[in-house]
Symmetry: C2
């Protein structure tokens, strides 16, 4: 099913995807989602935060349902699986259940959360953060992309009403349980399918290193106030501190002003991604890097420990040959983490990633493991919606 969309937003030179939220590629993917819903007779709509829903049954009439799904946007030069695998597997799990004549005792929905990666506006999980009220809608409307376009303008340009952004209790009330299937993003999972125990606490910080622009040739070394030096020291310090504190720290995005080859910069802006098993260690690293530089916390997601009763039940339903699926933590953020923090009973299924590569064109999962993922997800849906064949 991923083959339907494998050309959308793909860079033919590298094989990497660029599916920024609300870009033409994203709009095509949204159409594809709606088409999948319609061909299955599911009731689809977009909520006021831009998230997509396809309901089998009516949660307004029959009470909160079981929601599964993921996201369709990508990081820049990302892979084909991160996000779309969860959406496609959700539709396919419903197909499996229906093929077996299964009738759920409550509604089931496929969800697609908007802008999970935050590639365009800097803040990840915008759709689920707005839905749950974690992200202030006026802050969201003002977030600008690299071209200086605000989310507000971008939404208007796509015929959406940015006035509708914000916590949506009606939609939230329809989510009884959320189960997200996702490709694993490290090499920790040895079985085809696993279940998440927790998501590491993680965040993004913008560092603004300020200096004084001047001529690269005529300015004596001792007269320079070159912010690139402070940035370089921060990159190396981040690595050292990460080793010391047992956390992960990455500078993956940098902007230099004015960015002339023959001028000392006036400003180097860089984004730090930091995460680890312990909140205190992550906080300490960021604090140690923050001396003498302006640091803005662009996002912070506390540790998420998934509901342990639900987790065990899912692990059993998703297991094979009487063995429950293995349970493991993840260092990657997900909409499931945002919903869990907001009090929604939530679980995650992972599909094995043989190389561990993710957020890159080489991201991969074996077709057989993807099938195991669909089978496991269908078993979990059947278990949790308690109906019978």
């Amino acid at each position: 099913m991923l083959a339907d969309i494998e050309q959308i937003g793909r860079n033919p030179r590298t094989g990497g995807y660029r599916r920024d939220a609300w870009s033409p590629a994203d709009m095509q993917l949204r159409e594809w989602f709606t088409h999948q819903a319609v061909t299955r007779g599911l009731t689809s709509h977009e909520d006021r935060n831009g998230n997509l829903w396809a309901w089998w049954g009516d949660p307004a009439a029959d009470g909160p349902g079981l929601v599964t799904g993921s996201h369709l946007d990508s990081v820049r030069e990302g892979g084909a699986f991160d996000g779309p695998l969860g959406v496609a597997s959700a539709f396919q799990a419903i197909d499996l259940l229906r093929g077996d004549g299964f009738r759920p005792d409550r509604p089931i929905a496929v969800a697609c959360f908007t802008d999970e990666e935050g590639a365009r506006f800097g803040v990840p999980c915008i759709g689920s953060r707005l839905l749950t009220g974690v992200l202030d809608p006026s802050r969201a409307r003002g977030l600008a992309d690299d071209e200086g376009l605000c989310l507000d303008e971008v939404l208007r340009g796509q015929g959406r009403d940015p006035g509708g952004l914000g916590r949506d209790d009606e939609t939230l009330a329809h989510i009884g349980v959320f189960v997200e299937l996702h490709v694993e993003q490290g090499r920790a999972l040895q079985a085809p399918v696993g279940v998440a125990s927790a998501i590491w606490p993680h965040g993004r910080w913008r560092f603004d290193f300020r200096g004084t622009a001047d001529h690269a040739g005529t300015t004596a070394l001792e007269d320079r106030d070159d912010p690139m030096l402070a940035y370089a020291r921060a990159v190396l310090a981040a690595r050292l501190q990460a080793e010391t504190h047992g956390v992960r720290a990455t500078f993956g995005k940098v902007r230099v002003e004015p960015g002339n080859a023959n001028a000392i910069p006036s400003l180097v802006t860089a984004w730090l991604d930091a995460r680890g098993p312990e909140t205190a260690a992550v906080r300490r690293l960021v604090e140690e890097l923050s001396h003498g530089v302006e640091v803005t916390e662009e996002s912070w997601t506390p540790e998420v420990v998934f509901d342990d009763v639900l987790r065990l039940r899912v692990a059993c339903a998703a297991g094979f040959d009487g063995h429950p699926a293995p349970i493991l933590p993840t260092a990657a953020g997900h909409d499931a983490g945002i919903l869990a923090s907001a009090g929604v009973p939530t679980a995650m299924l992972f599909v094995r990633n043989p190389t561990g590569v993710s957020h890159a064109p080489g991201e991969f999962a074996e077709p057989a493991d993807c099938v195991s993922g669909v089978v496991a997800l269908a078993a979990v849906l059947a278990d949790l919606t308690g109906g019978g064949a």
Copy 2:
């Protein structure tokens, strides 16, 4: 006279200029140049490399003339004086001479060389390098800007014929002597006006640090191949080597692929500007930074020592109260350096820069010093064209 053009390409927020070659701002400046020529009855034309000429007299009929001028493009977020001061002063020096009833014994021209800064296509002094044949025209046509547009396409878009690029012996034959007036770019000049002894050898190198893109959260530190670390080490090493070797080294422009806050980069491309009084020291610095990384020399300008007989004559003509103007070297590249290397007798006049700031919005010269520059340039023109009042 600079007031005419002070709004063109100016960022109202910062006061910095962006006058990329062949941009709308540059096209407006070119029109302004032609207008200045026409209102003075000078014969203006654009040569096949895009350089502008305004002749007082006819070099085809009366033999090679004295050319003065500079450039109108800027670095990004540059100042108002670097380039335009030399062009405006050239027109004003002609006004002064004419006001005195001066009649030169050979033609005089004002020149404006195209794309001196190289802000758009990476290579500085494109106009004078093409004119003198130092830059291969097919390489020039293929140079791409940040949007991926080649010079070839950009020229066609402005109605120019890129087929005409390349060494232009006819135009060169018209340049008997070239005198460029320029704002000084350091704080070395204490008098209002000085004369250049030499231009330091200087160059630009592109460094491609390659790594492996991966997820910033899930990739263990020991599994990473993060090119940002190698870049950071190079930035700090460049500073250290610059101190050791008595040269100047700057990384002022960086591009990161894919540039996601939550992904380890696959490629960090950075540009090194290096210069110094001694070629060997500059070469040694670049060599020491080149281990384990792909380095491309994008431009190299050997040391230029200006003609010393001409230099003394210019210093005497430009002096005040019987004292010759001070003579000093510069670390900045100029079209004058390109022409001097090509065998054109060349001299440079500098106008004092009280703060030394250049290639930045704060670049400044006192109005009184600018007037002294015009007076000195007029005296030099009068001296070298040997006529009488």
